[in-house]
């Protein structure tokens, strides 16, 4: 089960989404620790780190680093692959996803993620299926 997903750039949190409950007051410290841990890892180092009860899986996409904290029992390689699935979905949704979309459409990032992961479990492995309801809702809302 995945617990949260963070997107960080230049060492600060740009986006965070929690799949399971965690106390809001402890979040900033956790996020800071996790991001420092992942950013400090060497470029060619292994992308899995241990963080207490969670395994951190991180992956760089351009200047942005995506981190997922998952249970130790999860398949790390698959989480790693999921991160690219998510980014590909964002690419497809925004045309070409870049950091400015985090700035301008942060709620869309949440919505795309929600169509792919609920309660920490993967919901939809197909990008097209994941995006179609969002796109349909977008057209309904803009009317």
């Amino acid at each position: 089960m995945m617990h949260y997903l963070l997107i960080s750039k230049d060492g600060s949190v740009q986006f965070s989404h929690y799949f399971t409950h965690s106390s809001p007051s402890s979040r900033p410290t956790t996020e800071a620790r996790v991001i420092a841990k992942c950013t400090n890892a060497d470029k060619d180092a292994c992308h899995f780190l241990e963080d207490g009860p969670h395994t951190l899986v991180f992956r760089w996409f351009g200047p942005c680093m995506f981190v997922v904290a998952a249970d130790h029992s999860e398949n790390e390689l698959m989480i790693y692959e999921f991160l690219s699935l998510y980014v590909n979905a964002l690419h497809k949704y925004f045309g070409k996803f870049s950091e400015k979309h985090i700035l301008l459409n942060i709620e869309r990032l949440h919505m795309v993620l929600e169509e792919m992961v609920v309660a920490g479990e993967l919901l939809e492995p197909s990008i097209r299926n994941a995006l179609s309801p969002i796109q349909m809702l977008d057209t309904i809302s803009s009317r």
Binding site: P53, M78, E81, E107, H110, A119, S126
Partner: protein, 910 residues
């Protein structure tokens, strides 16, 4: 005419201007009264452009104040935008709970845009507060019954993210209905919701069972993947479900086969592999279903072989599938050929250039090493190579794996590599690595000489990161192997004479041993020639070095004192050094200095006998569990002595105070004399001492006593007086013994104990001091007797077994101090699985106060233990009861249990 028209035109244009001005003024007024809120992106820009944290806070606070204002004014036009901004502010870590109600209002709105933001806000902002949950439950219920699939979908998503147990109970019916919906989009979301619900309320599992089965006959991959996940969770949670779902193995095999055989489908293709996400989920479920079931394993053998051989291993996705396949093959009762195939895949992984793959390989080997040690042994050299990897995660896994691979045959080579690793390891590794080295050496060392050598190397290599138990294990080993003491002390002298003073543990071990066995060093038995002056020089260097810690200096001072009975010429200079400490700034050292000085002057005649060698420590090193059991047994001939008995009782009762001195002085001295002098040679080899609060009061008012008795009591009466006889095996922390063996102050003794409790909890509770009886002059003076209080626990209160289920055993022992009962809980993992995330929670009746200390660890290997101290203040002396809740993870699943402990011994509150 023209003029008139002109003036008319002017008039109208003036009117126009005036009207315009009025309009503008109105607009400006509107703006001032209620400005449009800035957009989210502008807010983000403002926040990002803040140069300092204070500036950022100011921007956020201003915006929050504004948002609150609009919320109060019930402004529904901008509510959506404001909530969106609040979500961003929340993400930055600022409090945003005041937006919860607004989210609920948005959810209730009929507009899609509002609903989306409202639900998003609910997911992100809601905490565990009950009142809000009740409100949102109603909105969710409405939306789950909506006729629009998107509204249903939104509600399901939210429920999946925030469902509490109450919500789960209230909405399970709706979810179950949607699980049977004809719409795949709704079905998959309902399945994840059901997953969340059964995680919160396992009893509801039955309800979803029929609908869950039909999820597998689905074409849509989203529904399939969520269905498989749901079944996996059900199987993990309940053995009944596991048995029930055994029959779906053929279905799963068929789905997996279709996935592999299916041609290219653009929708689910990831780097040429057809839906790896689904494949991995199915493989995981197969593993759970096939574990320990030969029929099920038989059914899946072929497909696993197929996946293992056909999956492309050049890409990450392929490796992810292979990784899952290997785990499944090793977990189920698969054919031996298949297992060889799996181990070979891991071998290939280990050599892969991609660090992620190497990490995964080590991780997997670590998980299968208990099942098939010999297969993993084949990759030993590669694993040892990984110890030198630049990557920290890989090295950590490799280290853990190495310790799992050590056995009697390979210990020499493995230990050599591990010592090299230990020397260069990061500080965070050193403590665990050195502890594990000690355990491995303990278990497999080929001979004692090698064992001692290894421990010394471990202490040296780990520098200052040696845990205390390693120091004490080393000392204990040397103390109990008489034949190797000369060798060990020689080696240690060599270390000490060139020692760098910043590494404390090595100095501690060295000084302890040289203090005890210094005579072996001088009489040429050790393989070195040492002058007495050299020894004194080194000790002076240590004692005055600023790099040495106080603890090290305590070791050194006691050791030096011991040496005064071993050396011949330099006794004078020892006296000088020791008395110089009488004015040391550290109170502990000062006390030792003054007390030891007394042994040169007033009690010089006792110095020799008092500083005799410690008897060898017997029993188990490192692991406190066995000592713990031994600590309860009290059988000794001295039990019969009524004086002694009464004294023990008196002193161990918590109500002790000053008057004990006068009333029981007689008893006390008798008892002590009896203990010290009256023991027949050879009988009752060990005596346990018990410290109690009363000891300090004895110290406070020393009464005049006569001659020899007085001497003994002066010396030993300062020590906690009462002694409980026991011939249990000793399992003591030598570090503590060396702290305390020569000292004569209870404060110091207690200090020593308290200082050490954090690091050597297991040994402390298990500890029993030994007091060997004198053989030569047993009637007048003790020769080598030290009463060493080790355990604060009162033997009069028996320990209890608080819990013994599900592969977990909790033992509790008690210590009473006034109204505070200290419960030492020892948790033992009696299962075969690694336990992680161990959590013990407790509650006591209101009149009691409870304080939980942090546990010594949260994970336990099979048959390992951890300790946790719980303090209960019981001022009104009511019967102690405790509700407890336990949870831990084993085999990847969470075990939870709760119960009440009501069988505490009544002595705790009487």
């Amino acid at each position: 005419m023209n003029k008139a028209r002109d003036s008319l035109g002017t008039m109208s244009s003036i009117k126009q201007v005036i009207n315009d001005a009025v309009e503008k003024g109105k607009e400006v007024y509107e703006k001032v009264r209620q400005p449009n809120p800035i957009r989210l992106r502008d807010l983000i820009r403002q926040i990002r452009s803040a140069k300092t944290a204070a500036e950022e806070r100011a921007v956020v606070n201003r915006e929050c104040a504004y948002i609150r204002l609009t919320f109060r004014e019930e402004d529904s036009v901008w509510r959506c935008r404001n909530v969106a901004k609040l979500l961003y502010i929340h993400m930055l870590g600022y409090p945003a709970h005041f937006g919860q109600m607004e989210c609920l209002k948005l959810i209730a709105s009929p507009r899609f845009t509002d609903k989306r933001i409202g639900y998003l806000g609910a997911m992100l902002l809601l905490d565990e507060r009950q009142d809000v949950h009740l409100l949102i439950t109603n909105s969710l219920k409405n939306d789950l019954n909506s006729s629009t699939q998107f509204v249903q979908g939104l509600a399901l998503c939210t429920l999946g993210a925030i469902a509490s147990p109450e919500m789960s109970r209230d909405l399970a019916g709706e979810v179950e209905r949607l699980l049977k919906s004809s719409n795949a989009y709704i079905r998959k979301k309902a399945a994840v919701c059901a997953l969340r619900i059964i995680l919160k309320v396992p009893e509801l599992m039955e309800m979803f069972l029929p609908a869950t089965r039909s999820l597998l006959s689905e074409k849509n991959h989203g529904v399939l993947i969520t269905g498989v996940t749901l079944i996996t969770e059900m199987c993990l949670q309940s053995p009944d479900m596991l048995a029930h779902f055994k029959k779906i193995v053929p279905n799963l095999v068929r789905i997996l086969k279709n996935l592999i055989m299916a041609g290219y489908s653009p929708e689910h293709d990831v780097q040429g592999v057809s839906d790896p996400f689904l494949q991995v989920k199915i493989l995981k479920l197969l593993r759970i279903l096939g574990c320990g079931d030969s029929d099920a394993s038989e059914t899946m053998n072929d497909i696993l072989a197929q996946v293992a051989t056909n999956t492309e291993s050049s890409k990450n996705v392929g490796n992810a599938i292979l990784y899952e396949t290997v785990l499944s093959i090793m977990d189920i009762k698969s054919e031996s050929g298949l297992r060889v195939l799996a181990i070979n895949i891991l071998g290939r992984f280990l050599l892969n250039a991609d660090k992620n793959i190497r990490y995964v390989a080590l991780n997997t080997l670590l998980r299968v090493v208990h099942a098939d040690n010999s297969a993993v042994q084949r990759h030993r050299s590669t694993i040892l190579e990984c110890l030198k990897d630049a990557d920290i995660s890989i090295r950590k896994r490799a280290m853990e794996l190495c310790f799992a691979l050590i056995n009697g045959n390979n210990i020499r080579t493995m230990m050599k590599e591990l010592l090299t690793f230990l020397e260069n390891a990061e500080p965070e590794f050193k403590a665990t690595c050195s502890s594990k080295c000690v355990l491995a050496a303990e278990k497999y060392s080929p001979n004692v000489r090698w064992h001692i050598d290894t421990l010394l190397k471990v202490v040296e290599a780990a520098g200052n990161h040696v845990p205390d138990d390693v120091v004490s294990s080393t000392i204990q080993l040397i103390s109990e192997t008489r034949a190797e003491q000369a060798y060990a002390v020689g080696e240690l002298w060599r270390h000490l004479s060139v020692a760098q003073l910043e590494f404390q543990p090595m100095i501690q071990v060295s000084t302890w041993c040289i203090g005890e066995f210094g005579d072996l060093l001088l009489n040429g038995q050790a393989d070195v020639t040492v002058e007495e002056t050299q020894i004194i020089e080194i000790y002076q260097k240590i004692l005055w070095a600023s790099q040495c810690s106080i603890t090290t200096k305590e070791y050194a001072l006691t050791s030096l004192m011991k040496l005064s009975a071993r050396l011949n010429q330099e006794v004078g200079s020892i006296q000088q050094v020791v008395s110089a400490f009488g004015s040391h700034l550290n109170i502990e050292l000062q006390q030792r200095g003054i007390e030891y000085s007394q042994l040169f002057t007033r009690h010089n005649h006792m110095r020799g006998p008092l500083l005799e060698r410690m008897p060898p420590f017997e029993g188990v090193r490192g692991n406190g569990t066995e000592g713990e059991k031994g600590g309860i047994a009290i059988t000794n001939g001295l039990d019969n002595s009524p004086d002694n008995q009464s004294l023990l009782n008196d002193l161990s009762s918590p109500n002790n105070n000053n008057n004990i001195n006068s009333t029981h002085e007689n008893n006390e001295s008798n008892a002590l004399l009896l203990l010290l002098g009256g023991i027949e040679p050879g009988e009752g080899d060990t005596v346990q001492a018990v410290t109690s609060p009363a000891t300090s009061t004895i110290n406070a008012t020393p009464a005049p006593r006569s001659t020899v008795n007085a001497d003994i009591l002066d010396l030993l009466g300062l020590e906690p007086g009462p002694t409980a006889p026991s011939n249990t095996t000793t399992s003591t922390s030598p570090a503590q013994l060396s702290h305390t063996n020569n000292s004569s102050s209870p404060a110091l003794l207690l200090d020593g104990l308290l200082n050490n409790t954090s690091s050597t909890t297991t040994t402390t509770t298990a500890g029993i001091a030994s007091l060997s009886t004198p053989t030569a002059n047993s009637t007048t003076l003790p020769t080598n007797n030290f009463i060493i209080p080790q355990s604060l626990s009162q033997p009069s209160v028996p320990g209890i077994v608080a819990y013994d289920k599900n592969g977990m055993k909790l033992d509790m022992t008690f210590e009473i101090q006034d109204s505070v009962t200290t419960i030492n809980m020892l948790a033992t993992n009696t299962s075969l699985a690694q336990v992680t995330d161990f959590l013990f929670q407790a509650a006591v009746p209101k009149s009691l106060q409870l304080q939980m200390m942090t546990p010594s660890s949260t994970s336990m290997a099979p048959s390992a233990t951890l300790t946790q101290v719980i303090k209960v203040n019981n001022p009104s002396k009511v019967p102690l009861r405790m509700r407890m809740r336990l949870s831990w993870q084993a085999n990847g699943s969470v075990v939870q249990d709760q119960g009440e402990i009501s069988h505490f011994p009544p002595a705790l509150w009487q």
